[in-house]
């Protein structure tokens, strides 16, 4: 199985790089305040969001465990993806962004990003991402980006089984997939 040679993506690929930048920087402060307020409220949470974004910067799945407005989400996603795309494979899979630490992993054209608290075990989150992908792979069989797009709700259901209240609650693939498979059977 030939491994796709990962190359450093040129930033010009990114559609968000240009005009939106200025706009976003204006927003930054507001978003910041909002977020620190939120952080104060659920400080026990470890996972703050899970994102799938492809290398064009298009969001394929987004689950936030704290409330952010549409604009804030858009801004956050754009900024983080830009940061991650600018990194090489040799560099570490963690990026600090504002008060989040983003752990990311790339599979083919898709980036899987998990935003966590500062004192979270990054390596464990990195492996959590892999567990998620393996779980999807078991369900869909050779999972690809399109599987996720066509079955967005099912991927969400899996994530709901794995993460609750921002905590990892289930890591057995069997237990994660059981309710989804049962549901399919009965419908």
């Amino acid at each position: 199985m030939a491994k796709e040679r990962r190359s450093v993506e040129s930033l010009s690929d990114l559609w968000r790089a240009g005009a939106e930048q200025a706009h976003r920087e204006v927003e930054d402060d507001g978003v910041e305040q909002q977020r620190s307020k939120q952080a104060g409220r659920d400080d026990e949470m470890t996972i703050r969001f899970v994102l799938f974004v492809n290398k064009q910067g298009q969001t394929r799945l987004a689950q936030y465990y704290e409330h952010l407005s549409l604009d804030e989400r858009r801004a956050l996603e754009g900024e983080i993806v830009r940061k991650c795309l600018a990194r090489t494979d040799q560099q570490c899979s963690f990026v600090e962004h504002r008060n989040y630490k983003v752990v990311y992993r790339r599979y083919a054209s898709l980036f899987f990003l998990v935003g966590v608290d500062n004192d979270e075990n990054e390596l464990a989150i990195l492996e959590f991402i892999h567990l998620f992908v393996e779980t999807m792979d078991r369900h869909f069989g050779n999972v690809c980006e399109l599987d996720i797009m066509f079955h967005l709700e099912k991927v969400h259901f899996m994530l709901e089984e794995m993460v609750m209240n921002g905590c990892i609650v289930e890591t057995s693939k069997q237990n994660i997939l059981a309710p989804i498979q049962l549901m399919e059977k009965t419908s």
């Binding site: 199985m1 030939a2 491994k3 990962r6 559609w15 968000r16 659920d42 290398k55 298009q58 969001t59 689950q63 409330h67 549409l70 989400r73 858009r74 040799q90 560099q91 570490c92 963690f94 990026v95 504002r98 599979y107 054209s109 075990n121 990054e122 390596l123 464990a124 990195l126 959590f128 992908v133 393996e134 078991r138 869909f140 069989g141 050779n142 999972v143 690809c144 980006e145 399109l146 797009m149 066509f150 967005l152 709700e153 969400h156 259901f157 609750m164 209240n165 609650v169 289930e170 890591t171 057995s172 693939k173 069997q174 237990n175 059981a178 309710p179 498979q181 049962l182 009965t186 419908s187």
Partner: protein
């Protein structure tokens, strides 16, 4: 071929009966997937939203169709478009009888709405009803929704049912009930405080999933009050032990490691419970030792556990053996080629040095490598480590490095953080005032707008106070060097406002003090500053006040100076300014020019910024004047509070006095005659220059930061104002003056080098050479890199060691020190070329590591969790789905068939080949057994499906082949 694959895949997706995905939906997904730009995507979604609006308005949408429409709404919001018009339909769908529809409804509501949203109240009722359902999957869906949607007010509505469900026969329900309760605890701990004992009970649940989930709420509870849970230490240790001994079902294994995520959570809990508790920690050492011994350093997940173990060990009561093991693992991390591991290593080191600072020494060069790595994340982490290990002996090197790094940061959030760290370290450990001022100048120059203004005041105060009376020479030297450097820098564009304020103030106070620069030269510079920053009133105010002071000093010295034309322009401009503050200052300056030498001297004494200003708050010197006025028939003064009708104004004023900040709304116009009194005074004080006491009224004193000090005589306005502007209260003076009074930078450097043997042993450069300059040349001299690193290491760590020496036997340890650094030097030289070759290392093997799938997913149903004797009661957790193992076992040969099919045909690029197998993969939904037989490439099949697909009308273009790439492939 590419197209074929695309068609086959889409067809497979679309043709499944019962999935209800229409061509429309497929087209939408396809067009989003193939969109080339954000603009194109936006257009697609905008069109889609129009369409959805029309469709949703139709009352007769079939339920299944509704689900699809809802998912399309989810897409629109996910891609950043507002779809709030459809939110109500998501709420409606939660009422649906069919589970997939209901769950989709709950999901959409959770994605769309926050718990505080008005519509959520409509869902609470549904959740209540569903919690009572006979179908446990419905109950699960409701509990999941409760975790997302039940806000503080709604907790009582569902709480009794959730508590009841904690004892549900299905483990999936118990697990989710635990998490729902956890959520309620997060939302409002008081509402469930009587129920927390349930978490303890669920810890002993006979299902490992429930037990694992219970660790989450327990962790939160323990963080809050560890002492109430000390009794659980033994239980946690037992569970961890059993997990490590593989007593959990193998379905929890991940890459051959038993339940790693549960292990990590347990380690986190133990770290909290064992912190500062010798007895509790005693229980943990054995199992921690086991984990270290069994530690798998080859996989990420193994290392994640080891890292968590190190965190635990550094948190609990220290044990030498454990620390040794932790240090050993940390050094493995640091020596690794993987940046991820290096990062973890740096973090671990930061934890360990808190217990034993000497551990850092061994890793000096690894740390410096990380510091110089182009990887920004790693660099930041290393700076965090340096921040933790800063002492007075290495503060210069560390802060210099930090500033050097800070200059190039563009991220404001991080720049602020690192700037404040620089300030903090400099304030705490500064070896000399001189160094402190230079460092602060650098910080202000590059991040002046990001640091607290207090720091600026602190710096001005330091320059003004200097080293103290006994060393007046050094003081003036310090000041003239400050003046020199500021004159050099002041012309540069884009200096931060707070830095300009400092510059103006220092130039005003000390610009002409040593006679090196003429008054007109300084004034010219100050005028330039004011002109260059037209919009910044504060800077202009500082500039005009500085000019004012210079004039005053010159007049006091008896020299006659003329108002330069540009200065005159400035004064004229400011006299007409909208800001009353600037106006005031300008008029004061003009008034000053008309005064004689003696008056000026007392109004504006030279270098008196540190003198106290005595304030006669009672204005007693006016008594005779008042008396005289009364005698002449003036009506006596009635205090504001006793007057009728102005109480509110009075109370407002007193409030205003408390706030030192400025107000945009000014109330001067309504003020009582009070201000006119001191104004009269100012005249008196000026006309009688011998008066030492200068009266200042209380309100004016407080407000003058941003407002005119109307009530003050002009002379005092300046010195008094800086007395106020330097908000000294609460600012600690942290640098110790007497200890370092004699240390000039050069003597300091040399003295340090004699104390640490390391920098001598490398023989690089003359020992008296200042370190800063050697960094500068670092980049050009590649061959000297190791020597440079040596020196850096020595200054970072060696001096720390030297400090430790003083505590222990000095002679023995220095002797030991130098050979060790020499040894490290040689290893570094050899390591350098090796590293360069190794760089394109293969990515972590587990990416491709599907081989373990069959192994890990083959749960021997005969291996029940009942083996968790001791703590957990006996029970057998049979696998919920008998179908799953079959699917996964059939996968291994299936994978093989893909490979074997690939090799002979050799179509297209290797990376996409496995997708051939995907053509039929979705048929797996039909049934687990079908998968095995249907998987694998089938060209004929695909061709057939291509034909049918085109008949159906879906004509994929294959614009974005990435969509079909195997994620794990």
């Amino acid at each position: 071929m590419e197209q074929l694959r695309t068609i086959g895949r889409e067809l497979a997706m679309g043709s499944q009966g019962g999935w209800g995905q229409s061509k429309e939906f497929l087209d939408l997904v396809k067009s989003i997937g193939e969109a080339r730009s954000k603009a194109e995507e936006d257009r697609i979604i905008a069109r889609e939203l129009e369409h959805l609006k029309r469709r949703l308005a139709d009352p007769d949408v079939p339920r299944r169709k509704m689900k699809e429409l809802l998912l399309r709404l989810v897409y629109a919001e996910m891609l950043g478009h507002d779809a709030s018009f459809g939110h109500i339909h998501a709420v409606k769908m939660t009422h649906d009888e069919s589970l997939p529809l209901k769950r989709t409804g709950y999901l959409a509501v959770a994605l769309f709405l926050d718990e505080r949203h008005d519509l959520v109240i409509l869902v609470v009722n549904t959740i209540q009803k569903d919690l009572r359902s006979d179908n446990y999957l419905v109950v699960c869906a409701a509990l999941t929704a409760a975790c997302r949607l039940i806000g503080e007010e709604a907790i009582p509505a569902v709480l009794p049912q959730v508590v009841e469900l904690l004892a549900h026969p299905k483990e999936a329900v118990r697990k989710k009930a635990v998490m729902a309760l956890h959520r309620f605890y997060q939302r409002s701990s008081s509402s469930v405080s009587h129920l927390v004992s349930n978490f303890r009970k669920r810890l002993c649940d006979n299902d490992p999933g429930v037990m694992g989930a219970t660790l989450c709420p327990l962790y939160d509870l323990i963080l809050e009050e560890p002492n109430s849970y000390k009794d659980l230490v033994v239980s946690f240790v037992n569970i961890l032990k059993q997990v490590v001994e593989r007593r959990l079902p193998t379905s929890y294994d991940y890459h051959q490691i038993p339940a790693p995520f549960i292990q990590i959570k347990l380690l986190k809990i133990l770290a909290v419970l064992g912190s500062g508790d010798k007895q509790a920690s005693g229980h943990m050492y054995t199992v921690l030792g086991d984990i270290f011994r069994k530690g798998d350093t080859a996989s990420n997940i193994g290392n994640a556990i080891l890292y968590e173990c190190i965190c635990c060990i550094s948190s609990i009561f220290p044990n030498p053996k454990m620390l040794e093991a932790a240090a050993e693992t940390t050094s493995k991390f640091l020596k690794s080629d993987s940046h991820n591991l290096k990062y973890m290593g740096i973090d671990a080191l930061g934890r360990l040095i808190k217990i034993n600072p000497d551990i850092a020494e061994e890793h000096q060069l690894a740390v410096i490598d990380c510091l110089e790595d182009p990887d920004d994340t790693l660099k930041r982490k290393t700076f965090e480590l340096l921040y933790k290990m800063t002492k007075s002996t290495n503060v210069e090197v560390i802060v210099d490095r930090m500033i050097e790094y800070m200059i190039n940061i563009t991220d404001h959030h991080y720049k602020t953080e690192i700037a404040s760290r620089c300030v903090e370290l400099a304030e705490q450990f500064a070896p000399s005032n001189q160094w402190f001022i230079q460092t602060m100048n650098k910080v202000f120059e590059h991040a002046g707008d990001l640091v607290n203004i207090r720091v600026a005041h602190n710096l001005m105060r330091l320059i003004a106070e200097g080293f103290g009376e006994e060393d007046e020479g050094a003081d003036s030297q310090l000041r003239s060097s400050a003046v020199d450097s500021y004159l050099r820098i002041v012309g540069e564009p884009k200096l931060p406002s707070s830095f300009l304020q400092i510059i103006c103030w220092v130039l005003g106070e000390y610009g002409t003090a040593d006679g090196k620069y003429s008054a007109s030269y300084i004034i010219g510079k100050l005028c330039d500053v004011a002109e260059a920053h037209l919009t910044d009133d504060t800077v202009k105010a500082y500039a005009i006040s500085a000019i004012f002071k210079i004039f005053a000093f010159e007049i006091a010295l008896g020299r006659k100076i003329d108002l330069l034309p540009e200065c005159q322009t400035l004064v004229d401009e400011l006299s007409a300014s909208h800001s009353t503050d600037l106006q005031q200052r300008a008029y004061e300056l003009q008034a000053l020019l008309g005064l004689d030498k003696n008056a000026v001297e007392s109004v504006m004494p030279a270098d008196a910024s540190c003198e106290d200003i005595e304030v006669d708050r009672n204005l007693s010197f006016l008594n005779s004047y008042v008396q005289q006025a009364l005698e002449n028939g003036a009506s006596p003064y009635i205090p504001e509070s006793e007057r009728s009708g102005v109480i509110s104004v009075g109370s407002y004023r007193s409030q205003e006095q408390q706030e030192t900040s400025s107000h945009t709304l000014r109330f001067e116009a309504y003020e009582m005659p009070k201000p006119s009194l001191p104004l009269a005074t100012s005249q008196t004080s000026m006309s009688t220059p011998t008066t030492d006491l200068v009266p200042v009224t209380e309100p004016g004193y407080y407000k003058e930061d941003h407002q005119t000090s109307k009530s003050q005589p002009p002379g005092d306005a300046v010195s008094g104002e800086f007395g106020v502007k330097l908000r000294l209260d609460g600012v600690q003076k942290k640098w110790g003056r007497p200890t370092y009074s004699s240390s000039t930078p050069s003597s300091l450097a040399s003295s340090q080098q004699t104390t640490n043997g390391a920098s001598h042993s490398d023989g690089g450069g003359s020992s008296s050479q200042p370190r800063e300059s050697s960094y500068g040349s670092k980049r050009q001299q590649g061959t000297e890199v190791s020597a440079e690193k040596q020196r850096l290491a020595a200054s970072l760590f060696g001096s720390a060691a030297a400090k430790a020496d003083r505590k222990a036997q000095a002679s023995r340890k220095t002797a030991k020190d130098s050979p060790s650094t020499e040894k490290v030097a040689t290893t570094n030289v050899t390591a350098q070329p090796v590293k360069e070759q190794v760089i394109p290392a293969a990515p972590p093997p587990d990416l491709l590591d599907l081989g373990d799938e069959p192994v890990s997913s083959n749960p021997p149903s005969a291996d029940p969790f009942s083996q968790l004797e001791g703590l957990l009661g006996p029970a057998s957790a049979a696998p919920v789905l008998s179908g799953t193992p079959a699917t996964s076992t059939s996968k291994a040969p299936d994978l093989m068939s893909i490979f074997s099919g690939d090799v002979p045909t050799g179509v297209a690029s290797g990376s996409t080949d496995p997708t051939l197998g995907d053509v039929n993969s979705t048929s797996s939904h039909k049934g687990a057994t079908a998968v095995a037989s249907k998987k694998g490439p089938s060209l004929q099949d695909a061709l057939q499906k291509d034909a049918t697909a085109r008949q159906v009308g879906v004509t994929p273009t294959g614009n974005n082949p990435n969509l079909f790439k195997d994620l794990l492939g």
